[in-house]
Symmetry: D2
Subunit: 364 residues, 4 copies
């Protein structure tokens, strides 16, 4: 369904980087969910470019809730949240209108939309749209928190520097909640940021991996075959620009394990069924088993870089050379963290609402 | 939508491992597609267990097309293909009914279906259901072939042994088309099979990775945000039991590259826009760019193994020990190859039909 | 979604009149619903042609449940029910292959499927497919009954003869449950049947209206805008071949009332909110108000009649005259009654499952 | 999908009567469709209350296109159109917050949303939301016009006064296009308006019927079973507040005809297949046959009237008497005309896009 995702709680995204506004409509939210605008602000600021490791575009992201909230709580009818665009410098893009930026969506959008697409700042393919995901997801994320479900993502690696793995989940998640640069081992933060700065100075960019954990999910959520938890999450995650890989639990490393090692033995703990290890990432047969859901996303380096690149002129069909002007990020891994959190919240809210009905998310 | 996938060409799966039959309904197929039952047979036989590296369950897979075909061609109305189950030994499972097999869907199905699920042979969570995917996908795959679109998957690694990468795509795809054990470098086949045999003798299992390539896709297919090619493919691929990771192009390796290396420069070749490298796997911004689409799936080792494992009794809530009887595969990587091909065909047929209309797939 | 309907409980239909089989897949059913094959049989026999007022085609309708049921109860995974076709006389149709029967789907199917459609007996457009709706719906209808929700349809008019309106709902519904020819006032049954016989003797056909009532629905079911109860029901009802009008409550008669007459005043009755009248048919703003849901379907006279009709040859594009051979019904109103009941059950089960979650329908 | 409709071209509605804004997102529009804001204005003004036969609420309806349009044409990415609310008098409603207006959605919304719904002016259930349908539909309607497809609706009856039927379709449609009060026989306009005024003076309201015709549709559009043209249109039409009946072609009158009269004989006319009569309303077997599509909607009298009515207090569960303050329409039939046109345009654009692909609507 193109720009709508979800069967029970559905989010619809719209907007272009340099158009009047971007935004999201969330439909199917339970009535009675408190809408905390300060929390939305907090998450939006986490996505916002900051300091010398991001684009210099300044986005204050003042959002407007156009519908679906009454007296501070969700009504249950569609919630539209709008973020007007500001600080757009469209002239940066005019000169290179038909020079496709390598590995960006310029050429494919041109093929699909025949030149009618809005080329300014990447149009609808801009990472800017993820601000709408964050605004919408923040509302859902706080609703999940009230139900005892927590979501946290850390920068597992960036620019060749690795963070440590999750250890004490509860403490790690609390720590991440307060950090602007989302690493578990704070000593790696400077090294990652330096790697980003070096790439920037070299007119280049870096990528990384994000690792996400979700706790508090009941066992028995997910659907066989096409709406497995992995299917639904990966569907949404691959929609984030720059995500090129998704793996659950031990993921690709499972391919080299033997079953006797990979299998997670069940055991009783405090009257509850648990697993001794969690190589499956909390999901068996596509359905939650009550253990933490764990997954990683590969984030490619930002395709827009500050160097001359070989490309073609889409209009004339001739080889060309491009030196991108515009402002761009040498790395989006740290900014994408909150996008993954929020999109994960939207997907899980959808699945839980399907499982337990339309009132569930609003109850405590 | 649970067991239905696709917006334009939709496949619906049904069946349990030891029930009367499994099957699939494909809706939205263009009229006039030739249905070659020999080709369906060929692909089904490729999925079928064979030799000493598979389960000893014998599935002749005689299928019946119940609807949607008239005089050897698709009518355009729903095509139901049914595969009766045979050679089921349900008694193998009765004794261990409530002992959850580690990393299998027994426990999660129990949580979701409250004990009403069919436990025999894994029920609806059995890999057996993939035979229906193959039968349905074979019809669509041959239709895509007629449109010049080819799909091939090789065993990139298995049991710790790696195949070579794709080189001459056309030749490699033709070779794979004729091989029962799908590797590019035939010298690794024996080593992989030996690794499987060794695991089997040790009462264990192995996993691996599958790499798939699709050629002939036009540029401009895919939708922004939620129906990107990556989103749609990963949604379907993660539905295959045992898939725990999916990556496109260079995938997770992109996380460690710099943008200047990761980017695929465009160039003109014979009047067409191409890319010099293909780290993006033929997809930019979620939309095809005309280059080969390339992705890899991580396949976990089969969870059912021939050794004693720690687990719990789901009914009594007590720790327990399980020694699985039943017949099981020490490896399903080689059998999953054709499942990936067929599911990929179904997803792409869906996206192409949305792009070009309901007649397109049937025309030549 | 073409041949699939429902967001939470979804039914997928397949089959052609003279193909190997017709059938349905129901997905999203709660686990633990008892499946009473005798009840399925009873409802199928109610749809079956009988006596001298129907086609002489004999359909014993022996169905097979291929999946989704274990030990007599739904598993929660897709339930496929198959009805093999028998007593087909395809030769009846060969001679008139390209002569479009007026007001039948022959010509429109030809335009859509370009001649690849199965023309025998109307193919996928045959009323025969409604047997699959009945088989699938019977399972859901009995589940709703266990939840205190009842559905009954009577022949409000047929061949110009009118039945009385509903009076004592509970008694009327019980009576209808036992009648093969579904009228409330049994004295009109003969008059209706005579009208059918007269039409038949004249080589003609008659239509009628069906009126349906649903009791026991909780208030607060339905969704604003596009998934109102009226929207969902009408969507499904207009899929039944021959339905050309649907109205809720007083329906078209409301157009001529004033608001002061049309409005249903609320009042308290035994501690519950009720309405004094029920011109709205139990639905306000698209959502149930707890009163009986009431609607009527207009059923056109069967298009296949026993007289010469003017038409065209679709292949040659020439005017032509058609005298349909084949066996056909002079009236399908009485047979459609149970189809409406069953389709209504499927739609409401879908909406209730969305409202209350995936377990709801299986609990008591 | 609640507030989203359409599989290929999908519209999502949001907003409450007295919230900041209402609006719509249209996704799946072809790129390159000219967006004529004057035409949107024209259609919005046709829906706007006017003169003494409507509410005195003044809605200038200044809309903002927030996304999806670049240089005056659709980009192909989601188009969001926002209409800020003005002239809201929420205080009118506070006093009667818990007194359910008979036959309005107050009580059912209360049951569904548990009191969290926005009660001001009917909230999301207000007819106000139809302005968003008109704004969105106007864009699609003009695109259909460019493809030779025309849609027109007339007030077939209102307040007991009937308009004549369609005669010369082309001339009638052109005439309707220019009329603010949409009747074919201009001599009945005054009589209808007088009937509305009389009802208003009596503190009452009237209803009516709308009849719609669509010309220029190719044969072969529509899907068997659940996405018939009738199913899709009725699904959308019943979403319009106040619609309680929908019939196609001769509709309910078909129930009393014999087949020999009801059937539409085919004939060749100028090399094209036509039907002599059009009792089927241009649709056979759910698929267009190339003749004009014709349907009628029953519009109930406005439930909010200027008299005392019996009702209940939803909060206390006691009988009560309500004298609605607020401003309200004594009739909405004439205002609903353009809503039906626009919603019809959206549904048909969806079906045609599915049939012919995502570029079709933007080409000429």
């Amino acid at each position: 369904m193109k720009n709508t995702f979800g069967n029970h709680v559905a989010v619809t995204l719209f907007g272009e980087s340099h158009g009047p506004a971007i935004g999201a409509v969330i439909d199917g939210l339970a009535p009675g969910i408190p809408v905390d605008t300060a929390f939305i602000d907090k998450l939006l600021s986490r996505r916002r470019p900051a300091g010398d490791i991001s684009t210099t575009r300044h986005e204050a992201d003042p959002f407007v809730i156009e519908s679906g909230v009454f007296e501070g709580k969700t009504t249950g009818t569609p919630l539209c949240i709008l973020i007007p665009n500001g600080d757009t410098r469209s002239s940066d893009y005019a000169a290179t209108r038909f020079l496709a930026r390598p590995s960006h969506a310029d050429y494919t959008a041109y093929c699909k939309y025949h030149g009618f697409e809005d080329p300014r700042g990447g149009g609808h393919f801009s990472g800017r749209i993820t601000a709408a995901v964050v605004a919408a997801g923040a509302i859902v994320l706080s609703a999940l928190n009230r139900k005892g479900i927590r979501i946290a993502t850390h920068i597992a690696s960036c620019g060749g520097v690795s963070d440590r793995a999750f250890e004490d989940l509860s403490a790690d998640m609390t720590a991440l909640d307060e950090r602007d640069f989302g690493v578990l081992d704070e000593t790696v933060a400077d090294r990652m940021m330096n790697a980003i700065r070096e790439a920037k100075q070299a007119g280049d960019s870096v990528g990384g991996t994000l690792e996400t954990v979700v706790t508090g999910l009941p066992a028995g959520v997910g659907e066989p075959w096409f709406d497995t938890v992995e299917s639904m999450l990966s569907h949404a995650l691959f929609a984030i620009p720059a995500v090129k890989g998704v793996e659950f639990g031990a993921g690709f490393a499972l391919a080299d394990m033997r079953g006797s090692v990979a299998n997670d033995p069940f055991c009783m703990q405090g009257g509850a069924v648990c697993t001794v290890t969690n190589h499956s990432g909390g999901i068996n047969g596509g359905i939650t088993n009550g253990m933490p859901v764990l997954f990683r996303c590969a984030i490619r380096p930002t395709p827009t870089i500050g160097r001359e690149q070989e490309t073609v002129n889409m209009q004339t069909g001739e080889d060309a050379t491009l030196l991108a002007k515009g402002r761009h990020d040498p790395c989006i891994v740290h900014r994408a963290r909150v996008v993954v959190d929020c999109l994960t919240a939207l997907v899980l809210a959808d699945m839980l609402t399907g499982r337990f009905g339309t009132d569930w998310l609003g109850t405590v």
